[in-house]
Symmetry: C3
Subunit: 338 residues, 3 copies
Amino acid sequence: MFLRNYWYVCAWSHEIVRKIMPRRILDEPIILYRTEGGAAVALADMCCHRQLPLSFGTLVGDTVQCGYHGFTYDASGQCVRIPGQSQVPANARVRRYPLVERWGFAWVWMGDPAHADESKIPRAHWMSEPGWTAVGDLLPLACRSDLIRDNLLDLSHVTFVHQATIGTTMVAETPVVTEPGEASVRVVRAMKDIEPPPMFVRMGGFTGRVDRWQIIDWTPPANIVIEAKALPTGTNDWSKGVITEVINFITPETPHSCHYFWAQARNFATENMGLSKVLHADVTRTFLEDKDIVEAQETRMRQFPDFETVDARFDSGVAHCRRIVKRLMAEEAAARHA
Amino acid sequence: MFLRNYWYVCAWSHEIVRKIMPRRILDEPIILYRTEGGAAVALADMCCHRQLPLSFGTLVGDTVQCGYHGFTYDASGQCVRIPGQSQVPANARVRRYPLVERWGFAWVWMGDPAHADESKIPRAHWMSEPGWTAVGDLLPLACRSDLIRDNLLDLSHVTFVHQATIGTTMVAETPVVTEPGEASVRVVRAMKDIEPPPMFVRMGGFTGRVDRWQIIDWTPPANIVIEAKALPTGTNDWSKGVITEVINFITPETPHSCHYFWAQARNFATENMGLSKVLHADVTRTFLEDKDIVEAQETRMRQFPDFETVDARFDSGVAHCRRIVKRLMAEEAAARHA
Amino acid sequence: MFLRNYWYVCAWSHEIVRKIMPRRILDEPIILYRTEGGAAVALADMCCHRQLPLSFGTLVGDTVQCGYHGFTYDASGQCVRIPGQSQVPANARVRRYPLVERWGFAWVWMGDPAHADESKIPRAHWMSEPGWTAVGDLLPLACRSDLIRDNLLDLSHVTFVHQATIGTTMVAETPVVTEPGEASVRVVRAMKDIEPPPMFVRMGGFTGRVDRWQIIDWTPPANIVIEAKALPTGTNDWSKGVITEVINFITPETPHSCHYFWAQARNFATENMGLSKVLHADVTRTFLEDKDIVEAQETRMRQFPDFETVDARFDSGVAHCRRIVKRLMAEEAAARHA
């Protein structure tokens, strides 16, 4: 059902503190907390004794004490104390999930820990690079993660859904170029000499027409970075333009819901906190418009799971992405059976 | 599960305006709207591109533009525009349902369009006939449509459920005469020299005893017209009596809910708007009492679907109706397989 | 799914009055009412005619009149009247469940009536014995009944869950002695020379250390009596101590919810109504803490029904109880098939 041998964002780093936080990832309940030494930890959210969620328990130093009978686990998931007895059986343990913090996100590995290779964490370097700043948030969506992935891979929808921020007629009317990779997809839309949409006016102060680009990069399982940029038509001077990197990490919560982590990084007006506030509000508004759409899709897909959809020309990126995911799912399934 | 080759009321005509309205009929989501020329249209409420409900879209002239990527459909269900491309594939379309307006109702055909014969629309001529007036409404019920059908076919329940409006002891105690047809059922109950129930007093101003009749006509799938009338006992003078036609069209919404369209037509005091208000309130109150009953039945039937019920003598109409529906269902199933 | 040939508490006796009360027992809907002569009656909550819950009906003398078409049942469940006809078919009846009142509880027999032997009703004599008084209540729990049974059979949890009332560290640290019977389990925990927990201070006015006992007796299906007592360490004088009998009768409502009937009987300060109020509040608070726990367990057990739990040493009573229940379930299943 889910691709497993990948790093998934389970939280913003700043969400993980000295307090147990529950979160469901790939339909598995986990807890997240930070040790006294500052390390972020992910454990299964279910005591091995009576299945009580450990999120009902207490953090005692670096250990988690179950809120029912006091089984106590260290940060590796091993039970280290059972009240009323001096020995703890070796099988008294809960699953620990590898967890790495990078770019301000906490990445959890839901597959075979032997393959948890940190070098496979997707790049989101703009989050911490000098000369850049970012706003971001977590938006819960009551739909399968595929739907927001497809939404981002085909931006022709901004014409119809996001008139108030980033949509103009020209987006849907401009053809895209799709560059399929072995395990990646790039979709490029170059819009020359067009009216800038409202949010770009707010960012760039444009008074005339612009050249605008959307460069979408997808990598599995559901990492999408969109370079969205514009500059005045006829100039080639990026100092008069704006470049944003819209970072999207989508993590399934259940088969029918997901955690949508997003950030918008920019390399201009990086000290302008007022602009940051405006952009956070603009992007949130934009993505809440998507939320209505994808959640309505989800209800139809649940009733009509076998419906044969009709693709449009601008769906080439989505189609290629689906083929890759299907192949990767088959490969993981084959590996599990082997 | 449902009889399909029938006309079902999907809306009151006045509900269908220049705005997209969603409604679920036989568990299929549809949209209803009116063209600039005034024609009522019923289409499937799901874009063929990404399954978004078209009720999230916009009416543009006589076409419906999907709210996601702008696929645009004409009133026949054919997609006539896909942004960013000049050609539209022939299979880009949504189902159109035949729709006819008559007697103030909009009738939709959920079966094979080839058999959508308008002459099969049930008669409800009192809705528009000179000398008659009517009140009516739509009541949503959280029960399978059979339950309100059975309710109306066996009015002995009014004695126990509707004391405040149309129930008196004599209803349940008076035997009925059932006249079974090939694809229809008539149930007649003649109550002579009885106390009139409260609503009839309000309608007819009776001060003494009355003769009262209930003549129930069912035709498939779930059309029931009840001629409910009374006049002073001992007179044969209908100018001193009241005649009402209670029109009931029941349309399944899901397997466990239905749309109950009702109207009460009368041929007296037709200009009396005050009486119309009172009667609308009286009938609504009466049917809300039924709603409690049938929805409670539904919960038991879902837990005990195979429970063998015990019929009473006054169930002859219900029993005959069920046999006919069973036969018609079998005939439709056979025709589908052939 | 449930043990059936047992007496289950379906209500407090005082809940059953001259009014129809619905309650679900072992997933069967029943009604409870009291006849004019004072006898408590349990019938199936579904009319045999159209499956309407009889709890929508009316008590007429000792009979129940259905709220839909007036089928009327006597206290044996036999239909004695159908409006509009003089004869009532013999199969027009609803199930009557044997019901006995004892110790202030109403006990219903959900199995084969031929085996409804009153002598098998569990003892709770403290509820009515001179020199004793009791507080008690009904707590609805959204979990399978096993979970609150296991909770009561292993009181080591009070250390972690009930610090405000009956929990101290020593409970979980003191080993138990389990005395398994053929169809019973006793678990004894003797805690010598310990700090008394808050509720015991409130009951006994202890100023120093105490000896404290928990003696838990389980019998099937889910009857648990806990003798919880304490007296000042070093004395053997029970006139300075307190003895309570905590009576727990747990009745499945559905596979995933139960009725938890509890009482706390005491043999001291029996006239002190103020203390009774305090104890009712203390025990309620304590059991509401359990409610949070067991309902959270239930959600995990529904998602992970086959999870293999790890037992602790203090689980010997729980383990033995489960083995007995498993054997009794198998015996009932075998008897049904024979």
